[in-house]
């Protein structure tokens, strides 16, 4: 025995280490660990079931990830300018932020909207706003993602109406709506209607797209916000997959076929935290989604089994303290995303702990992704971590962990019931508290916060200006739209929305007709609120 190994065996091993998800990490991995954790048979080839290594055979060698920063503020005119700016700087997709009144289904002149119009996103009241926001943008070249949930039905209807009016064929229109209401009940909170009709509305959009806009993804299931609310990475993936299954179940119960429905579902995940844990989470999640589709639902189209995702953001990992550090964090989060085979990436900007991103901060995020893409060799080869004893072992363990969490949810009556009763919320909240406590006691280390902290004055951060004047402009514009349209026609078309909702028919065709006649987001949602009622939050601790 060499002196070195004598010394190793004599000294005690390092203390046990666990990831946030609870998986234990060993100091050294070997081929034996891969075998013991489930073997390497299911790694497979890129672009082939079960898609552990990615959903395309050549991944970034053929097509690098889409860069799609979340943006939107003020009026449609202001947002349009930012869109053009981002496209000019090389962004390849748009990810639209709507203001809170729009997200909550209220018009800009609603009393509850006061002070919120155009603040955290673009204000959209009517089709006129949608037309202005996307004027001159080629919707075939720049794919658009609409971050809209509770009010997804009227906003998607406006997007489709706008596209059709501009001469784009819905049959070939690509794009995504977030439209994931179950996660809004867990975190983020822009719900409007009770759980059951909310899911039915998502069913309406899935059914509409399967029939009329087959290339459009009507639902992007978000583990992201569940993670931001406190869930660990394994829970993030488990809850997201369970939610996606709930939408598939609903669609199947309505008589839709599994393949087109599943092809229309995409995912949105978070990327902050332990880098290896994120990689294992994504590889395991991709494999498990493929297995669920095939084994549980009998899907036959490989595309229906592919977990397509935007993996980005990372806001929960950013800090108010020493905000420039967030630029560095963003770069590492983007690295995790690229190593995980994402289709689309977006990064929270370094000033997001303070404000909505300034133009400068948004450009730095974009440049971060471009540097990774063009300077570091990340696109050289597919799934470069594949075959690592460590990564494959942890992918196996993560898959088992996520599967177990889904089984637990199923055992408790499923995710829909768990959310309706507030159980998931309570669990996520409990974890958020635990993590915050560990941060405050220094058990979890955060640079600039509980280690290497500096006495600092309030930092000079360039704030994105909120222009009060823009809100009154928006209200004037809304009143002009209401004055110029055919009021009797709008009334009649809104009545058709009401009839469809009452009869439990698909409301999408009636809503598209109504918004084409310039019915507003608030008017459509008011009709639906009258029929469906409003969600009552179960507050549980």
């Amino acid at each position: 025995m060499s002196d070195q190994s004598k010394r190793d065996s004599a000294t005690p091993g390092p203390p046990p280490l666990r990831w946030e998800s609870g998986l234990e990490v060993k100091p050294v991995y070997t081929a034996q660990d891969v075998e013991q954790s489930g073997g390497s048979e299911r790694i497979g080839a890129p672009g082939e079931y079960p898609f552990t290594r990615g959903i395309h055979p050549l991944m970034y060698r053929k097509r690098p990830w889409t860069m799609r920063q979340y943006s939107g503020f003020g009026t449609a005119a202001e947002t349009h300018e930012r869109f053009l700016y981002l496209i000019k700087h090389g962004q390849t997709g748009l990810n639209v932020a709507f203001d809170l009144p729009t997200q909550c289904g209220l018009d800009s002149d609603d009393p509850m909207a006061e002070g919120e119009v155009g603040r955290v996103g673009m204000a959209v009241d009517s089709l006129a706003d949608m037309e202005q926001a996307f004027a001159d943008i080629d919707l075939n070249r720049i794919t658009v993602s609409l971050t809209i949930n509770g009010a997804a039905v009227p906003v998607m209807a406006m997007y489709f109406a706008m596209a059709r009016k501009r001469g784009f064929d819905l049959a070939s229109l690509r794009g995504t709506a977030q439209n994931d209401i179950l996660k809004e009940f867990i975190g983020r909170g822009t719900w409007i209607f009770p759980v059951e009709p909310s899911i039915r509305l998502i069913g309406d959009t899935m059914e509409f797209c399967a029939g009329h806009a087959p290339k459009y993804s009507p639902v992007s299931v978000c583990g992201y916000h569940i993670r931001e609310s406190g869930a660990n990475p394994a829970q993030e993936m488990a809850y997201a997959l369970a939610i996606a299954c709930a939408y598939v179940d609903h669609a199947l119960a309505r008589g839709l076929a599994v393949d087109p429905v599943a092809r229309g579902i995409t995912f949105n995940f978070d990327i902050h935290g332990n880098l290896w844990e994120q990689v294992a989470k994504f590889r395991a999640g991709r494999r498990l989604w493929a297995r669920l589709l095939k084994e549980r639902y009998g899907a036959t189209d490989p595309r229906a089994m592919q977990l397509r995702m935007i993996a980005g953001g990372g806001g929960g990992g950013l800090t108010i303290q020493q905000p420039e550090n967030n630029i560095v964090r963003g770069a590492y989060y983007a690295l995790a995303s690229a190593l995980s085979g994402t289709q689309t990436m977006a990064l929270c900007s370094f000033d997001e702990a303070y404000t909505i991103p300034s133009e400068n901060a948004a450009r730095i995020s974009l440049r971060t992704m471009q540097i990774l893409m063009h300077e570091t060799g990340l696109c050289d080869t597919v799934d470069p971590l594949a075959g690592s004893y460590f990564i494959e072992s942890m992918t196996n363990e993560m898959e088992r962990c996520i599967e177990q969490l889904i089984a637990e949810l199923d055992g408790q009556g499923g995710i829909v019931q768990s959310v309706a009763q507030g159980r998931v919320q309570a669990e996520v909240n409990r974890q958020a508290y635990e993590l915050e406590r560990r941060l405050q006691t220094g058990e979890v280390k955060k640079v600039g916060v509980n280690i290497f902290a500096e006495e600092e004055q309030d930092r000079e951060v360039e704030f994105h200006p909120y222009r009060e004047g823009e809100a009154s402009k928006q209200i004037e514009r809304l009143r002009r739209v209401r004055g110029d349209r055919d009021g009797a026609q709008v009334k009649r078309l809104l009545e058709q929305v009401r009839q469809a909702a009452r009869a439990k028919q698909n409301v999408m065709p009636a809503v598209i007709d109504a918004v084409e006649a310039y019915a507003t987001v608030g008017e459509v949602c008011d009709v639906l609120r009258e029929v469906y009622g409003t969600y009552q939050e179960p507050v549980r601790f």
Binding site: L100, G187, G189, Q321, N429, A432, F541
Partner: protein
């Protein structure tokens, strides 16, 4: 030592989300922290109007009202809440605000009548001791 252990009357706190902002992680964390410190906490849930918050504060007979705002709309919203509290003669209440509040706005909030402002990441202990001190005086 919690308030219960010290034998003093338990401090009652209303934690509220005003306006349309759906970010409630921080509000719920503070609820738990105050409960762990022995206070009685009533959480309103999301999307409360200023008037509903003042009404709840009156009906629940709380000592403290805590608002959580992360949308950036803290100034217009707090003006309205301040008015609603005044309308119900609740100006003796201790009023704290937390969330995404830049330092440059702290003075304006104090002018509206807010007693304490706690930005994201403020240690629980700081919030708890602020409330205890204010209630004691």
């Amino acid at each position: 030592m919690t308030d219960e252990q010290s034998g003093s009357k338990r401090i009652r706190v209303l934690v509220a989300k005003v306006g349309l902002d759906g970010h409630d992680v921080g509000a719920k964390l503070v609820c738990r922290a105050l409960m762990d410190a022995g206070m009685e906490v009533i959480y309103t849930g999301l999307r409360q109007s200023p008037d509903a918050i003042a009404r709840a504060a009156l009906e629940e007979g709380v000592d403290v009202v805590g608002l959580s705002i992360l949308s950036g709309a803290h100034l217009p919203l707090c003006r309205k809440v301040g008015q609603a509290l005044q309308d119900r003669r609740l100006t003796d209440l201790i009023w704290i605000v937390g969330g995404n509040i830049p330092g440059k706005d702290h003075a304006a909030l104090k002018e509206i009548g807010v007693d304490g402002v706690f930005s994201t990441g403020a240690p629980f202990e700081q919030i708890v001791s602020f409330i205890r001190q204010k209630v004691a005086s």
